[in-house]
Protein backbone atom coordinates (compact mmCIF):
# COMPACT_ATOMS: atom_id res chain seq x y z
CA UNK A 1 0.00 0.00 0.00
CA UNK A 2 2.73 2.40 0.93
CA UNK A 3 4.54 1.95 -2.36
CA UNK A 4 4.97 5.17 -4.17
CA UNK A 5 3.42 4.95 -7.56
CA UNK A 6 4.69 8.37 -8.55
CA UNK A 7 1.38 10.03 -7.75
CA UNK A 8 1.92 13.46 -6.29
CA UNK A 9 -1.77 13.54 -5.44
CA UNK A 10 -1.47 10.38 -3.37
CA UNK A 11 1.62 11.73 -1.69
CA UNK A 12 -0.22 14.91 -0.78
CA UNK A 13 -2.48 12.90 1.54
CA UNK A 14 0.63 11.79 3.43
CA UNK A 15 2.25 15.19 3.68
CA UNK A 16 -0.75 17.47 4.11
CA UNK A 17 -3.69 17.63 6.47
CA UNK A 18 -5.96 18.94 3.81
CA UNK A 19 -5.68 18.18 0.11
CA UNK A 20 -7.32 20.32 -2.55
CA UNK A 21 -8.15 19.38 -6.12
CA UNK A 22 -9.96 21.29 -8.82
CA UNK A 23 -11.97 20.19 -11.80
CA UNK A 24 -11.00 20.83 -15.40
CA UNK A 25 -13.71 20.42 -18.02
CA UNK A 26 -12.24 19.67 -21.45
CA UNK A 27 -13.58 21.99 -24.15
CA UNK A 28 -15.89 20.94 -26.94
CA UNK A 29 -13.58 21.50 -29.88
CA UNK A 30 -9.86 21.73 -30.48
CA UNK A 31 -9.17 25.21 -29.13
CA UNK A 32 -7.63 24.46 -25.75
CA UNK A 33 -6.07 27.87 -25.13
CA UNK A 34 -8.52 28.88 -22.39
CA UNK A 35 -8.23 25.47 -20.74
CA UNK A 36 -4.44 25.72 -20.77
CA UNK A 37 -4.74 29.12 -19.08
CA UNK A 38 -6.79 27.49 -16.35
CA UNK A 39 -4.28 24.66 -16.01
CA UNK A 40 -1.43 27.16 -15.69
CA UNK A 41 -3.34 29.17 -13.12
CA UNK A 42 -4.33 26.17 -11.01
CA UNK A 43 -1.55 23.61 -11.23
CA UNK A 44 0.51 25.11 -8.40
CA UNK A 45 -2.33 26.07 -6.06
CA UNK A 46 -4.02 22.66 -5.94
CA UNK A 47 -2.76 19.09 -5.43
CA UNK A 48 -4.51 17.60 -8.42
CA UNK A 49 -6.53 18.50 -11.48
CA UNK A 50 -9.48 16.26 -12.06
CA UNK A 51 -10.49 15.94 -15.71
CA UNK A 52 -14.09 15.09 -16.54
CA UNK A 53 -15.00 12.37 -19.03
CA UNK A 54 -17.68 13.63 -21.44
CA UNK A 55 -19.32 15.33 -18.50
CA UNK A 56 -23.13 15.29 -18.48
CA UNK A 57 -22.94 13.02 -21.53
CA UNK A 58 -21.85 16.00 -23.66
CA UNK A 59 -19.17 15.07 -26.21
CA UNK A 60 -15.82 16.81 -25.59
CA UNK A 61 -12.07 16.18 -25.80
CA UNK A 62 -11.24 12.93 -24.03
CA UNK A 63 -10.20 13.04 -20.43
CA UNK A 64 -6.99 11.15 -21.16
CA UNK A 65 -5.69 13.66 -23.74
CA UNK A 66 -6.32 16.53 -21.37
CA UNK A 67 -4.56 14.64 -18.54
CA UNK A 68 -1.51 14.45 -20.76
CA UNK A 69 -1.73 18.20 -21.49
CA UNK A 70 -1.80 18.78 -17.73
CA UNK A 71 1.33 16.64 -17.31
CA UNK A 72 3.03 18.62 -20.08
CA UNK A 73 2.31 21.79 -18.14
CA UNK A 74 3.66 20.35 -14.93
CA UNK A 75 0.34 19.58 -13.21
CA UNK A 76 -0.95 16.46 -11.49
CA UNK A 77 -3.88 14.98 -13.39
CA UNK A 78 -6.68 12.73 -12.12
CA UNK A 79 -8.32 10.79 -14.93
CA UNK A 80 -12.08 10.44 -14.72
CA UNK A 81 -13.32 7.29 -16.37
CA UNK A 82 -16.99 6.52 -16.89
CA UNK A 83 -18.68 3.28 -17.91
CA UNK A 84 -21.12 5.03 -20.22
CA UNK A 85 -19.08 5.17 -23.43
CA UNK A 86 -16.73 2.20 -23.24
CA UNK A 87 -17.00 -1.53 -22.80
CA UNK A 88 -14.52 -3.46 -20.68
CA UNK A 89 -11.99 -3.73 -23.51
CA UNK A 90 -11.96 0.00 -24.15
CA UNK A 91 -11.88 0.81 -20.44
CA UNK A 92 -8.84 -1.39 -19.83
CA UNK A 93 -6.93 -0.16 -22.86
CA UNK A 94 -7.73 3.41 -21.81
CA UNK A 95 -6.30 2.65 -18.37
CA UNK A 96 -3.14 1.11 -19.83
CA UNK A 97 -2.80 4.09 -22.16
CA UNK A 98 -3.21 6.44 -19.23
CA UNK A 99 -0.50 4.65 -17.33
CA UNK A 100 2.09 4.82 -20.13
CA UNK A 101 1.28 8.50 -20.62
CA UNK A 102 2.13 9.16 -16.99
CA UNK A 103 -1.32 9.40 -15.42
CA UNK A 104 -1.26 7.88 -11.93
CA UNK A 105 -4.71 8.68 -10.51
CA UNK A 106 -8.05 7.49 -11.75
CA UNK A 107 -11.55 8.31 -10.61
CA UNK A 108 -14.06 5.60 -11.51
CA UNK A 109 -17.64 6.61 -12.18
CA UNK A 110 -20.75 5.10 -13.70
CA UNK A 111 -21.42 8.22 -15.78
CA UNK A 112 -24.60 10.14 -16.48
CA UNK A 113 -27.14 8.49 -18.69
CA UNK A 114 -26.86 9.23 -22.42
CA UNK A 115 -30.23 10.93 -22.68
CA UNK A 116 -29.20 13.91 -20.54
CA UNK A 117 -26.49 14.92 -23.00
CA UNK A 118 -26.09 16.24 -26.52
CA UNK A 119 -26.14 12.89 -28.36
CA UNK A 120 -29.26 11.33 -26.84
CA UNK A 121 -29.56 8.88 -29.75
CA UNK A 122 -26.25 7.16 -28.91
CA UNK A 123 -26.07 3.59 -27.66
CA UNK A 124 -25.37 3.55 -23.92
CA UNK A 125 -22.70 1.01 -22.99
CA UNK A 126 -22.60 0.44 -19.20
CA UNK A 127 -20.84 -2.88 -19.71
CA UNK A 128 -19.33 -2.53 -16.22
CA UNK A 129 -20.53 -0.45 -13.30
CA UNK A 130 -18.35 1.74 -11.12
CA UNK A 131 -17.72 -1.02 -8.56
CA UNK A 132 -16.64 -3.45 -11.27
CA UNK A 133 -14.49 -0.74 -12.87
CA UNK A 134 -12.69 -0.29 -9.57
CA UNK A 135 -12.10 -4.04 -9.45
CA UNK A 136 -10.75 -3.85 -12.99
CA UNK A 137 -8.26 -1.18 -11.93
CA UNK A 138 -7.30 -3.48 -9.07
CA UNK A 139 -6.67 -6.33 -11.53
CA UNK A 140 -4.50 -4.15 -13.77
CA UNK A 141 -2.61 -3.02 -10.67
CA UNK A 142 -1.88 -6.70 -10.01
CA UNK A 143 -0.58 -7.18 -13.52
CA UNK A 144 -3.63 -8.98 -14.84
CA UNK A 145 -6.53 -8.00 -17.04
CA UNK A 146 -10.18 -8.53 -16.19
CA UNK A 147 -10.19 -11.91 -17.92
CA UNK A 148 -7.24 -12.99 -15.77
CA UNK A 149 -4.58 -12.82 -18.49
CA UNK A 150 -1.10 -11.72 -17.49
CA UNK A 151 0.00 -8.27 -18.60
CA UNK A 152 3.47 -7.37 -19.78
CA UNK A 153 3.82 -4.73 -17.15
CA UNK A 154 0.89 -3.73 -14.99
CA UNK A 155 -0.22 -0.47 -13.51
CA UNK A 156 -0.20 1.00 -10.03
CA UNK A 157 -3.08 3.44 -10.11
CA UNK A 158 -4.31 5.40 -7.14
CA UNK A 159 -7.99 4.71 -7.63
CA UNK A 160 -10.93 6.70 -6.39
CA UNK A 161 -14.67 6.87 -6.66
CA UNK A 162 -17.57 9.16 -5.91
CA UNK A 163 -20.28 9.18 -3.27
CA UNK A 164 -23.39 11.30 -2.76
CA UNK A 165 -23.76 12.21 0.93
CA UNK A 166 -27.17 13.85 0.38
CA UNK A 167 -28.65 10.90 -1.53
CA UNK A 168 -32.20 10.10 -0.54
CA UNK A 169 -32.64 7.35 0.54
CA UNK A 170 -29.09 7.23 1.89
CA UNK A 171 -28.90 3.53 2.85
CA UNK A 172 -28.43 2.02 -0.63
CA UNK A 173 -25.85 4.74 -1.33
CA UNK A 174 -23.92 3.73 1.80
CA UNK A 175 -24.01 0.05 0.81
CA UNK A 176 -22.55 0.94 -2.56
CA UNK A 177 -19.98 3.19 -0.85
CA UNK A 178 -18.77 0.22 1.20
CA UNK A 179 -18.66 -1.93 -1.93
CA UNK A 180 -16.51 0.67 -3.65
CA UNK A 181 -14.08 0.59 -0.73
CA UNK A 182 -14.01 -3.20 -0.89
CA UNK A 183 -13.42 -2.96 -4.64
CA UNK A 184 -10.32 -0.85 -4.13
CA UNK A 185 -11.32 2.81 -3.95
CA UNK A 186 -8.70 4.69 -1.90
CA UNK A 187 -10.10 8.18 -2.21
CA UNK A 188 -13.61 9.53 -2.59
CA UNK A 189 -14.85 12.70 -4.08
CA UNK A 190 -18.34 13.64 -2.93
CA UNK A 191 -21.19 15.20 -4.81
CA UNK A 192 -21.45 18.92 -4.05
CA UNK A 193 -22.16 19.59 -0.37
CA UNK A 194 -23.54 22.82 1.05
CA UNK A 195 -24.79 21.74 4.44
CA UNK A 196 -21.79 20.99 6.64
CA UNK A 197 -23.94 19.52 9.43
CA UNK A 198 -25.41 16.98 7.01
CA UNK A 199 -21.91 16.21 5.81
CA UNK A 200 -20.78 15.66 9.41
CA UNK A 201 -23.53 13.11 9.90
CA UNK A 202 -22.51 11.40 6.68
CA UNK A 203 -18.90 11.17 7.83
CA UNK A 204 -19.99 9.73 11.17
CA UNK A 205 -21.90 6.89 9.59
CA UNK A 206 -19.50 6.37 6.69
CA UNK A 207 -17.06 4.08 8.58
CA UNK A 208 -14.52 5.07 5.97
CA UNK A 209 -11.31 4.17 7.79
CA UNK A 210 -8.33 4.06 5.51
CA UNK A 211 -9.89 5.94 2.65
CA UNK A 212 -9.55 9.62 1.92
CA UNK A 213 -12.71 11.66 1.61
CA UNK A 214 -12.70 14.88 -0.39
CA UNK A 215 -15.77 17.05 0.00
CA UNK A 216 -17.19 18.32 -3.26
CA UNK A 217 -17.45 22.10 -3.44
CA UNK A 218 -19.41 23.59 -6.32
CA UNK A 219 -19.05 27.34 -6.68
CA UNK A 220 -22.40 29.11 -6.49
CA UNK A 221 -22.72 31.97 -8.97
CA UNK A 222 -26.32 33.03 -8.37
CA UNK A 223 -29.29 32.24 -6.12
CA UNK A 224 -31.02 30.95 -9.27
CA UNK A 225 -28.31 28.33 -9.76
CA UNK A 226 -28.78 27.16 -6.17
CA UNK A 227 -32.54 26.85 -6.63
CA UNK A 228 -32.05 25.09 -9.96
CA UNK A 229 -29.70 22.52 -8.41
CA UNK A 230 -32.06 21.92 -5.50
CA UNK A 231 -34.84 21.20 -7.94
CA UNK A 232 -33.04 19.40 -10.75
CA UNK A 233 -29.76 17.86 -9.61
CA UNK A 234 -30.22 14.68 -7.60
CA UNK A 235 -28.22 14.54 -4.39
CA UNK A 236 -27.58 18.27 -4.08
CA UNK A 237 -29.18 20.26 -1.31
CA UNK A 238 -28.45 23.97 -0.87
CA UNK A 239 -29.85 25.25 2.47
CA UNK A 240 -32.13 28.29 2.33
CA UNK A 241 -29.67 30.35 4.36
CA UNK A 242 -27.07 30.09 1.59
CA UNK A 243 -29.62 30.94 -1.09
CA UNK A 244 -30.58 34.02 0.91
CA UNK A 245 -26.95 34.97 1.34
CA UNK A 246 -26.51 34.78 -2.43
CA UNK A 247 -29.71 36.75 -3.03
CA UNK A 248 -28.71 39.50 -0.60
CA UNK A 249 -25.49 40.17 -2.49
CA UNK A 250 -25.87 42.98 -5.02
CA UNK A 251 -26.13 41.89 -8.65
CA UNK A 252 -22.48 42.46 -9.61
CA UNK A 253 -21.16 40.94 -6.38
CA UNK A 254 -22.84 37.55 -6.48
CA UNK A 255 -19.80 35.71 -7.71
CA UNK A 256 -17.91 37.27 -4.79
CA UNK A 257 -20.55 35.92 -2.43
CA UNK A 258 -20.21 32.46 -3.99
CA UNK A 259 -16.44 32.56 -3.59
CA UNK A 260 -16.87 33.67 0.03
CA UNK A 261 -19.29 30.81 0.76
CA UNK A 262 -17.03 28.21 -0.88
CA UNK A 263 -13.97 29.53 0.96
CA UNK A 264 -15.83 29.54 4.28
CA UNK A 265 -16.93 25.93 3.81
CA UNK A 266 -13.45 24.74 2.92
CA UNK A 267 -12.10 26.53 5.99
CA UNK A 268 -14.66 24.87 8.24
CA UNK A 269 -14.03 21.41 6.74
CA UNK A 270 -10.29 21.86 7.20
CA UNK A 271 -10.27 23.50 10.63
CA UNK A 272 -12.75 21.03 12.11
CA UNK A 273 -10.87 18.14 10.44
CA UNK A 274 -14.13 16.83 9.01
CA UNK A 275 -12.51 15.21 5.99
CA UNK A 276 -9.20 14.88 4.18
CA UNK A 277 -9.65 17.43 1.48
CA UNK A 278 -11.90 19.29 -0.88
CA UNK A 279 -12.57 19.01 -4.56
CA UNK A 280 -13.55 22.33 -6.12
CA UNK A 281 -15.85 22.35 -9.11
CA UNK A 282 -15.99 25.90 -10.40
CA UNK A 283 -17.85 24.99 -13.54
CA UNK A 284 -16.88 27.50 -16.23
CA UNK A 285 -15.23 29.77 -13.63
CA UNK A 286 -12.02 27.85 -13.07
CA UNK A 287 -10.05 31.10 -12.79
CA UNK A 288 -11.83 31.75 -9.48
CA UNK A 289 -10.28 28.73 -7.73
CA UNK A 290 -7.22 30.60 -6.40
CA UNK A 291 -9.54 33.25 -4.93
CA UNK A 292 -11.67 30.55 -3.29
CA UNK A 293 -8.53 29.16 -1.69
CA UNK A 294 -7.52 32.65 -0.55
CA UNK A 295 -10.96 33.05 0.99
CA UNK A 296 -10.43 29.73 2.78
CA UNK A 297 -7.32 30.94 4.56
Amino acid sequence: MASNNGSAFRKAFETKDFVVTAEIGPPKGTDISRMVEHIEALKDVVDGLNVTDNQSSVMRISSLAVCRVILDHGGEPILQLTCRDRNRLALQSELLAAWILGVRNVLCLTGDYISVGDHPQAKPVFDLDSVQLLQTVGMLNQGKDLAGNDLEGGTDFFAGAVVTPEADPIEPQMIKFQKKIAAGARFFQTQAIYDVDNFKRFMERAEADGVKIMAGIVLLVSPGMAKYMNKNVPGIFVPDALIEEMAEAPKGKRLEAGIRIAGRMIRQLRDEKLCHGAHIMAIGKEECVPRILEAAE
Binding site: C83, L109, T110, F126, D129, S130, Q132, A167, P172, G235
Partner: protein
Protein backbone atom coordinates in the same frame (compact mmCIF):
# COMPACT_ATOMS: atom_id res chain seq x y z
CA UNK B 1 -45.40 -11.43 -22.91
CA UNK B 2 -44.08 -9.58 -25.94
CA UNK B 3 -45.48 -6.05 -26.00
CA UNK B 4 -45.82 -4.24 -29.32
CA UNK B 5 -47.51 -1.18 -30.76
CA UNK B 6 -49.20 -0.60 -34.10
CA UNK B 7 -47.17 1.39 -36.59
CA UNK B 8 -48.76 4.64 -37.80
CA UNK B 9 -51.18 3.96 -40.65
CA UNK B 10 -49.16 6.25 -42.92
CA UNK B 11 -46.12 4.00 -42.63
CA UNK B 12 -48.10 0.85 -43.41
CA UNK B 13 -49.73 2.66 -46.36
CA UNK B 14 -46.24 3.43 -47.64
CA UNK B 15 -45.27 -0.25 -47.51
CA UNK B 16 -48.24 -1.45 -49.54
CA UNK B 17 -48.22 1.33 -52.11
CA UNK B 18 -49.20 0.01 -55.52
CA UNK B 19 -50.44 -3.33 -54.17
CA UNK B 20 -54.04 -4.33 -54.77
CA UNK B 21 -54.65 -7.44 -52.73
CA UNK B 22 -53.61 -7.40 -49.12
CA UNK B 23 -54.01 -10.04 -46.43
CA UNK B 24 -53.76 -8.74 -42.89
CA UNK B 25 -52.56 -11.64 -40.77
CA UNK B 26 -53.04 -11.38 -37.02
CA UNK B 27 -51.46 -13.24 -34.16
CA UNK B 28 -53.65 -14.43 -31.31
CA UNK B 29 -51.02 -14.61 -28.60
CA UNK B 30 -48.93 -11.83 -26.98
CA UNK B 31 -49.83 -9.04 -29.37
CA UNK B 32 -53.51 -9.87 -29.02
CA UNK B 33 -53.28 -9.39 -25.26
CA UNK B 34 -51.48 -6.06 -25.60
CA UNK B 35 -54.10 -4.86 -28.06
CA UNK B 36 -51.70 -4.45 -30.97
CA UNK B 37 -52.19 -7.33 -33.36
CA UNK B 38 -54.96 -9.72 -32.34
CA UNK B 39 -58.23 -10.47 -34.10
CA UNK B 40 -59.78 -7.13 -33.27
CA UNK B 41 -56.76 -5.06 -34.21
CA UNK B 42 -56.59 -6.95 -37.49
CA UNK B 43 -60.20 -5.94 -38.15
CA UNK B 44 -59.42 -2.34 -37.34
CA UNK B 45 -56.31 -2.20 -39.50
CA UNK B 46 -58.03 -3.90 -42.42
CA UNK B 47 -60.99 -1.52 -42.18
CA UNK B 48 -58.63 1.45 -42.03
CA UNK B 49 -56.69 0.27 -45.07
CA UNK B 50 -59.90 -0.28 -47.04
CA UNK B 51 -61.35 3.09 -46.10
CA UNK B 52 -58.09 4.82 -46.86
CA UNK B 53 -57.93 3.24 -50.31
CA UNK B 54 -61.49 4.30 -51.05
CA UNK B 55 -60.78 7.87 -50.00
CA UNK B 56 -57.79 7.93 -52.30
CA UNK B 57 -59.76 6.29 -55.09
CA UNK B 58 -57.47 3.28 -55.23
CA UNK B 59 -58.55 -0.25 -56.04
CA UNK B 60 -57.63 -2.38 -53.06
CA UNK B 61 -58.89 -5.57 -51.45
CA UNK B 62 -58.01 -6.15 -47.84
CA UNK B 63 -58.88 -9.44 -46.17
CA UNK B 64 -58.26 -10.60 -42.64
CA UNK B 65 -57.19 -13.70 -40.85
CA UNK B 66 -55.85 -14.33 -37.38
CA UNK B 67 -54.01 -17.44 -36.33
CA UNK B 68 -53.28 -18.64 -32.83
CA UNK B 69 -49.57 -17.83 -33.08
CA UNK B 70 -47.21 -16.81 -35.82
CA UNK B 71 -44.18 -18.20 -34.02
CA UNK B 72 -45.16 -21.84 -34.62
CA UNK B 73 -45.03 -23.47 -38.04
CA UNK B 74 -48.20 -25.46 -37.39
CA UNK B 75 -50.28 -22.32 -37.18
CA UNK B 76 -48.56 -20.65 -40.11
CA UNK B 77 -49.48 -23.66 -42.23
CA UNK B 78 -53.11 -22.64 -41.83
CA UNK B 79 -52.43 -19.70 -44.12
CA UNK B 80 -51.12 -21.88 -46.94
CA UNK B 81 -54.30 -21.97 -48.97
CA UNK B 82 -54.79 -18.21 -48.81
CA UNK B 83 -51.49 -16.36 -49.15
CA UNK B 84 -51.09 -17.15 -52.85
CA UNK B 85 -54.08 -14.96 -53.64
CA UNK B 86 -52.53 -11.76 -52.25
CA UNK B 87 -49.85 -9.33 -53.36
CA UNK B 88 -48.56 -9.03 -49.82
CA UNK B 89 -49.23 -10.21 -46.29
CA UNK B 90 -49.25 -7.51 -43.62
CA UNK B 91 -48.47 -9.27 -40.36
CA UNK B 92 -49.54 -7.86 -37.03
CA UNK B 93 -47.26 -10.21 -35.13
CA UNK B 94 -44.12 -9.26 -33.21
CA UNK B 95 -40.83 -9.16 -35.12
CA UNK B 96 -40.34 -12.87 -34.52
CA UNK B 97 -43.72 -13.76 -35.98
CA UNK B 98 -43.22 -11.56 -39.04
CA UNK B 99 -39.88 -13.24 -39.74
CA UNK B 100 -41.26 -16.72 -39.29
CA UNK B 101 -44.16 -15.94 -41.58
CA UNK B 102 -41.77 -14.51 -44.18
CA UNK B 103 -39.61 -17.62 -43.88
CA UNK B 104 -42.56 -19.99 -44.24
CA UNK B 105 -43.87 -18.19 -47.35
CA UNK B 106 -40.56 -17.06 -48.76
CA UNK B 107 -41.81 -16.06 -52.21
CA UNK B 108 -44.34 -13.67 -50.69
CA UNK B 109 -43.86 -10.08 -49.60
CA UNK B 110 -44.43 -10.08 -45.83
CA UNK B 111 -44.66 -6.67 -44.14
CA UNK B 112 -44.61 -5.68 -40.46
CA UNK B 113 -47.52 -3.69 -39.08
CA UNK B 114 -46.16 -3.42 -35.55
CA UNK B 115 -43.15 -2.10 -33.72
CA UNK B 116 -42.07 -4.68 -31.16
CA UNK B 117 -41.33 -2.98 -27.86
CA UNK B 118 -40.27 -5.34 -25.07
CA UNK B 119 -40.99 -8.30 -22.82
CA UNK B 120 -43.32 -6.90 -20.25
CA UNK B 121 -46.39 -7.07 -18.07
CA UNK B 122 -49.80 -5.40 -18.02
CA UNK B 123 -49.65 -2.68 -15.37
CA UNK B 124 -53.29 -1.81 -15.83
CA UNK B 125 -55.83 -1.49 -18.63
CA UNK B 126 -53.91 -0.33 -21.70
CA UNK B 127 -50.61 0.06 -19.87
CA UNK B 128 -47.58 -2.16 -20.10
CA UNK B 129 -44.06 -1.98 -18.75
CA UNK B 130 -40.84 -3.74 -19.54
CA UNK B 131 -39.74 -6.35 -17.00
CA UNK B 132 -37.19 -8.61 -18.66
CA UNK B 133 -34.18 -8.17 -20.92
CA UNK B 134 -33.75 -11.87 -21.73
CA UNK B 135 -30.15 -11.59 -20.47
CA UNK B 136 -29.85 -15.38 -20.17
CA UNK B 137 -28.53 -15.32 -16.61
CA UNK B 138 -31.30 -14.46 -14.17
CA UNK B 139 -30.25 -12.87 -10.87
CA UNK B 140 -33.72 -12.07 -9.55
CA UNK B 141 -33.06 -14.39 -6.60
CA UNK B 142 -30.52 -11.87 -5.33
CA UNK B 143 -32.40 -8.68 -6.05
CA UNK B 144 -35.72 -9.30 -4.40
CA UNK B 145 -37.46 -10.12 -7.65
CA UNK B 146 -36.68 -6.72 -9.19
CA UNK B 147 -34.48 -6.79 -12.28
CA UNK B 148 -31.63 -4.27 -12.27
CA UNK B 149 -30.77 -5.25 -15.85
CA UNK B 150 -34.18 -3.99 -16.97
CA UNK B 151 -35.48 -1.48 -14.45
CA UNK B 152 -32.15 0.37 -14.09
CA UNK B 153 -31.49 2.46 -17.20
CA UNK B 154 -27.76 1.81 -16.82
CA UNK B 155 -28.23 -1.87 -15.92
CA UNK B 156 -26.07 -1.39 -12.83
CA UNK B 157 -25.49 -4.52 -10.78
CA UNK B 158 -24.00 -3.12 -7.58
CA UNK B 159 -26.30 -0.40 -6.33
CA UNK B 160 -27.69 2.98 -7.29
CA UNK B 161 -25.73 5.60 -9.20
CA UNK B 162 -25.50 9.22 -8.13
CA UNK B 163 -28.52 10.06 -10.24
CA UNK B 164 -30.96 8.35 -7.88
CA UNK B 165 -33.44 10.95 -6.81
CA UNK B 166 -35.94 10.29 -4.01
CA UNK B 167 -36.61 6.86 -5.46
CA UNK B 168 -36.76 8.08 -9.05
CA UNK B 169 -34.27 7.81 -11.91
CA UNK B 170 -32.15 10.60 -13.37
CA UNK B 171 -33.47 9.67 -16.80
CA UNK B 172 -36.95 10.82 -15.85
CA UNK B 173 -39.21 11.25 -12.86
CA UNK B 174 -41.64 8.78 -14.41
CA UNK B 175 -39.12 5.98 -13.85
CA UNK B 176 -38.41 4.31 -10.53
CA UNK B 177 -34.85 3.91 -9.33
CA UNK B 178 -34.38 0.15 -9.55
CA UNK B 179 -31.89 0.08 -6.73
CA UNK B 180 -34.13 2.01 -4.36
CA UNK B 181 -36.84 -0.57 -5.09
CA UNK B 182 -34.39 -3.42 -4.61
CA UNK B 183 -33.08 -1.94 -1.37
CA UNK B 184 -36.58 -1.52 0.07
CA UNK B 185 -37.59 -5.03 -0.99
CA UNK B 186 -34.48 -6.73 0.36
CA UNK B 187 -34.83 -4.78 3.58
CA UNK B 188 -38.42 -5.96 3.90
CA UNK B 189 -37.36 -9.54 3.25
CA UNK B 190 -34.43 -9.27 5.65
CA UNK B 191 -32.02 -10.16 2.85
CA UNK B 192 -29.91 -7.00 2.58
CA UNK B 193 -26.78 -9.15 2.62
CA UNK B 194 -27.45 -9.87 -1.03
CA UNK B 195 -27.03 -6.21 -1.79
CA UNK B 196 -23.73 -6.03 0.07
CA UNK B 197 -22.23 -8.74 -2.11
CA UNK B 198 -20.25 -7.42 -5.09
CA UNK B 199 -21.77 -8.70 -8.31
CA UNK B 200 -19.15 -9.64 -10.91
CA UNK B 201 -19.31 -8.15 -14.40
CA UNK B 202 -22.11 -9.60 -16.50
CA UNK B 203 -21.17 -12.37 -18.92
CA UNK B 204 -22.45 -11.01 -22.20
CA UNK B 205 -21.04 -13.92 -24.19
CA UNK B 206 -24.16 -15.93 -23.42
CA UNK B 207 -26.20 -13.20 -25.09
CA UNK B 208 -24.42 -13.53 -28.43
CA UNK B 209 -27.08 -13.21 -31.09
CA UNK B 210 -28.97 -14.99 -32.47
CA UNK B 211 -29.91 -16.97 -29.39
CA UNK B 212 -30.60 -20.67 -29.79
CA UNK B 213 -32.04 -23.15 -27.39
CA UNK B 214 -33.05 -26.75 -27.52
CA UNK B 215 -34.83 -28.48 -24.72
CA UNK B 216 -32.77 -31.17 -23.06
CA UNK B 217 -35.52 -33.73 -23.32
CA UNK B 218 -35.48 -33.37 -27.08
CA UNK B 219 -31.70 -33.31 -27.26
CA UNK B 220 -31.54 -36.63 -25.43
CA UNK B 221 -34.17 -38.15 -27.65
CA UNK B 222 -32.37 -36.98 -30.77
CA UNK B 223 -29.07 -38.42 -29.61
CA UNK B 224 -30.78 -41.71 -28.98
CA UNK B 225 -32.34 -41.71 -32.42
CA UNK B 226 -28.99 -40.88 -33.99
CA UNK B 227 -27.41 -43.86 -32.25
CA UNK B 228 -30.12 -46.20 -33.37
Amino acid sequence: MIVAERKPLEQIEGMIEGMQKILVAGCGTCVAVCMAGGEKEVEILAAQLRMRAKLKGIQRTVDEITVTRQCDREYLDQLAKYVGQYDAVVSTACGAGVQFLAERYDDKIVLPALNTLFIGVAEGPGQWSQRCMACEDCILDQTGGICPMTICAKNLLNGPCGGTNHGKCEVGDDRDCAWTLIYRKLEKLGRLDYMRKIQPPKDYSVMTKPGRYSHEAYEEAEKKEDKE
